[in-house]
C-alpha cells in the first residue's frame, strides 16, 4: 500500500497554543479513515495543513510525496466545516465554479445526484435550508475524482435521515484507490463505514488502528472505546 499523506514530527503552534505537537502519521491509499477527537483536539488544524490553508510551524507534511501546493490541491478534494458558497449564487454557478477550478470535476455525476434530491440548477443557494446546502456542498466535493477527500464534520449539522444520505453518497462515490479522511465526533453514525480510526487529543495521536481489529480484539464499538479513552 502507498501512503497518500505522511507527517513527520509535524507541529502547528498558534501564538502560545500548540494545536498539533510532533505528530508522526501515515495515511494509506484506499482507506476510509475517521479522524476522531473532542472539540479543540486538532482535527481541523490537521485537515487545514493538508490543504495548505495553514503551514506547519515545524516538521514535515507530504501529500502523495510532495509538499502541499498547486499539485496536491489538484488531487485533494476538501469539504470545509463552513460553507463557502456565496448566497448570491445559483446551483449552476457553483457547478461552473467547480468545473473551472478542478479538472477532475465530473459535472454529469454531480447533476445526477442533484436531480435525485430535486435540486435544480436554477435553485438559489440563499433560499436553501442548512441541510440542503450541506448536501449540495458534499455532492460538489464528492463529484471530483480526487485521490484524497478531506471531509471536515460532514454530518454535524443535519438530521439523521440526511446523515444517512450523506454517508451513502460518500460510499457510492468512493473509488477503491482513493482515501477519505472524515473528521467528526458523531462516531456511532460513521463507524460502520470506516476502515481505520485515528483518535486525536490535545494535538497528539492517541491511537491509529484498523476498526475491525479493535472490534475483534476488544469486543467493543468505536463509539464505546472513544468514550472510554476520552472520559472526562
Amino acid at each position: 500500500m502507498t501512503a497518500i499523506v505522511e507527517c513527520k514530527h509535524l507541529t502547528k503552534r498558534y501564538k502560545n497554543k500548540e494545536a498539533l505537537s510532533e505528530i508522526d502519521l501515515t495515511l494509506e491509499s484506499g482507506r476510509i479513515i475517521g479522524l476522531l477527537g473532542p472539540n479543540g483536539s486538532g482535527k481541523t488544524t490537521l485537515i487545514k495543513l493538508i490543504n495548505k490553508l495553514l503551514v506547519p510551524t515545524s516538521g514535515e507534511l507530504l501529500v502523495a510525496g510532495e509538499k502541499p501546493g498547486v499539485e496536491s490541491k489538484a488531487m485533494v478534494s476538501y469539504l470545509p466545516e463552513q460553507s463557502y458558497l456565496g448566497d448570491w449564487m445559483y446551483v449552476k454557478d457553483a457547478l461552473d465554479f467547480f468545473k473551472d477550478f478542478y479538472e477532475d470535476f465530473d459535472n454529469s455525476r454531480a447533476l445526477n445526484m442533484l436531480e435525485k434530491l430535486n435540486i435544480a440548477p436554477n435553485d438559489k443557494i440563499k433560499s436553501m435550508s442548512k441541510g440542503t446546502k450541506e448536501k449540495l456542498q458534499l455532492i460538489l466535493v464528492m463529484s471530483r475524482r480526487a485521490k484524497l477527500y478531506c471531509l471536515d464534520e460532514p454530518i454535524a449539522g443535519v438530521d439523521p435521515a440526511a446523515r444517512d444520505y450523506i454517508l451513502s453518497t460518500i460510499i457510492n462515490n468512493y473509488d477503491e484507490n482513493a482515501t477519505i479522511l472524515i473528521s467528526t465526533h458523531l462516531i456511532a453514525d460513521v463507524e460502520n463505514i470506516l476502515d481505520d480510526v485515528i483518535f486525536i487529543q490535545d494535538g497528539k495521536i492517541r491511537l491509529h488502528q484498523d476498526v475491525d481489529d479493535i472490534r475483534s480484539k476488544q469486543g467493543t464499538s468505536i463509539d464505546h472505546l472513544f468514550r472510554e479513552v476520552f472520559k472526562c
Binding site: N192, D195, R215, S216, D223, H224
Partner: protein
Amino acid sequence: MAWELNSGQPIYTQIIERIMIEIVSGCYKPGEKLPSVRELASIAAVNPNTMQKAMAGLEQSGLVFSHRTSGRFITEDSNMIKKAKETLASAQIEEFMKKMEQLGITREETIELIQKKGEES
C-alpha cells in the same frame, strides 16, 4: 435500507454470517450470481473495502466462488450448503444451551422442555 449491524463485532464477519444465512435459507439459489461488491456495499451501507473482505471470507468458506470476469456466484454443491446450514444451526443451539445453563437449567432439562413445547404445538 441499511443492514442492522452490531458495532461491537467486526462488520465483515457479520456480513459473512448474514449472506451465509441467505444462502442456506434459499434466498440465494445455488449457482445464482451475487450482486457486485459495490452494489452490496451500497445496500448494506458499509464501506466497499469491508464488503470485499467479507466476499474473500465467503470464497474461503467455499460457499461462494468467483469467475474472473463475470463476477461471484453461489456454489452449486448442495452438500456444502447443507453442511453450512448444519454448522449455523448447531451454533444457534450451542448459544441457546449456554443461555439455559445460565438460568440453571441442565442440558437434559432443556431437551425435555423443548420436547414438551413441541408436543404443545
